[in-house]
Symmetry: C2
Subunit: 356 residues, 2 copies
């Protein structure tokens, strides 16, 4: 089914930023997509309009009770000039999974996908060139009832904005240093840890600030009850290569089912590697370090793709991984995925959707 | 120190709602207070302006990462015509406690208090009469950087809005029915459960929807790890009267340190009652029900003041409290506090601040 959205062109286009100095998520393109939801009409009035401030009632529920969900995906320009998006259907599917948990009405997946595709097509000149660059796509839904009682909103906005970005971490593909968090908790089973809702990120800021002050780029989250099992690193899924086997925490409801997580697992299995999803404790990682079998550790996520971890600090105990250097597996995964995204290797999994 | 705020009057004042049909949090007064924060100037430009939509960049961090905190307090008109606010300094203090956890810069407490007082004074004609009515005051802080990386914002807005309200629950002082939640989790130690941040409320919506579908007004939250100990009821603190002793869950970091909680504890202790803050399990409550010593249960909070609980459903087991009727203690607490708020009994604790 083809959706037709109204289009209001931006007659005052902005100057595009220097593609060598993009950073992450600080520049926005000339247009955005908006659709509204109410009980009577469901999702309606999809429109591409000039990027501009929203008029929001100060009582809008999202500002008080944080009823909001989002997604993050990326568009690339391939070497032969096509515009492609990496596995967008996965992100749209997950948007609705988050929505169910957060009491937000589902959005037709084809409607949301078309919104993303048509907006990217409108602003495709904003897709930056350069190896680590891409156009970051941020779909999100916010609760807009001007109401202060605690209940799900009856009205929402679905918005898509686009940001030309460089590497998420200044380190790029170079290893980051991580602090193992044993005081603050991100999520537990029964909570909202598996969703992309703002509250998960708000809850993580304090630990991130304190780890940064100690000289670390991010924190490694442990489970919220026993502070024993590994959950995520920053807002990325995490993988360990121990004695040839690749281990990643299983999805128990407290961590995100990452699209990049799924992609790297598929790749590694097809490369004949042993990949295991299971609970893994920080003690096990420390023991592997001590006996010399901890070979690699890396985070995965849309923003950073693959982010190797060179060092962990666990209650003052240092764990140096692969001498603080990017491991072969991290490199191979990064190269494979980023080359696929640029059309330099075959898209044998049909992960790319071409924007036309 | 007296703060001077600029004042822009609303030249198109709204019609005031029928004070018999206020509901909760759906009408807003003619003015609001706004101040801005940036790294260079700190909190600045405090101003009272007409209530109007905010212009917000769609990339504003609060819309994506829910970095936000709020408070809720109430102003009343006493029978002799004074305007009073109940313990406002406690709420402002707690706003900063929430802020520290959420990475939000502290606001000078006198500045925030003056903002509340001067705004209430500006719109004092909106304070509704009627026994269950009051002017609900909602101070909140939102992160405003237009930025998609995950880190604390560098800019914020502190806003105060006012809403003339009636009873929070349609039941008023009549007992509500509560579903004991054993699937979903609100918060754990190490998380943000003790703060008034939007994410706590967003995380609670699904359980609230499902309990409502089953015929219950709210849920009773259990601890997030063992699902054993009682935390809060809805967004209220909770008290049990068992065999003459009043028990309320101790503050372990996962529940809010309620101002009404503190007030009723003070009152009951001064009435010579035995009041204990400690962990209390749902099993203990069930046993007390079975052996006939569960005398009363009630929630406390600014919005509902005292909300008696008439019935619990714990995994299908019904717990009827005081034959589903409002207990003497609940009544006495409700009467004492609401009469104090209206100047009908002496403010012997100096809990009222007069707005002049």
């Amino acid at each position: 089914m083809a959706y037709t959205f109204t289009f209001e062109p931006n007659n005052a286009p902005k100057q595009k930023p220097d593609s060598n100095k993009l950073g992450f998520g600080q520049y926005f393109t000339d247009h955005m997509f908006i659709a509204d939801y109410n009980l009577q009409h469901g999702w309606h009035e999809g429109r591409i309009v000039p990027y501009a401030p929203l008029l929001m009632d100060p009582a809008s529920m999202v500002l008080h009770y944080s009823q909001t969900i989002f997604e993050g995906l990326k568009a690339y320009k391939t070497t032969d000039g096509k515009v492609v998006i990496f596995r967008p259907e996965r992100n749209i599917e997950r948007l609705n999974i988050s929505g169910v948990r957060m009491g937000i009405p589902p959005i037709d997946e084809e409607f949301a996908l078309q919104a993303v595709m048509q907006l990217v097509n409108t602003d495709k000149d904003w897709i930056p060139t350069g190896e680590e660059n891409s156009l970051y796509i941020r779909p999100f839904i916010i609760a807009t009832d001007p109401f202060l009682g605690v209940r799900p909103s009856d009205t929402y906005k679905f918005i898509v904005i686009l940001s030309p970005v460089g590497a998420y971490y200044p380190e790029g593909i170079n290893p980051i240093k991580i602090y193992v968090e044993s005081e603050y908790v991100r999520a537990v089973r029964g909570g909202v840890g598996f969703t992309k809702t703002g509250g998960n990120y708000a809850a993580s800021l304090k630990a991130q600030m304190e780890s940064k002050d100690k000289g670390y780029t991010q924190v490694l989250w442990l489970d919220g009850c026993e502070k024993k099992y590994i959950e995520e690193v920053g807002s990325m899924n995490v993988f360990f290569k121990i004695n040839g086997e690749v281990i990643t925490p299983s999805l128990e409801g407290s961590i995100l089912a990452g699209v990049t997580r799924n992609s790297v697992m598929t790749l590694m299995k097809d490369w004949g590697m042993q990949v295991t999803e299971r609970q893994i404790s920080i003690e096990e990682v420390y023991e592997a370090y001590q006996n010399g079998t901890l070979e690699e550790m890396f985070g995965t996520g849309t923003a950073a793709v693959i982010s190797p971890v060179g060092e962990l600090n666990w209650d003052g105990k240092g764990i140096v991984i692969n001498n603080g250097k990017t491991g072969d597996l991290s490199h191979k995964l990064y190269d494979t995925i980023t080359k696929m995204q640029r059309g330099l290797v075959e898209d044998s999994y049909n992960w790319l959707t071409t924007v036309e």
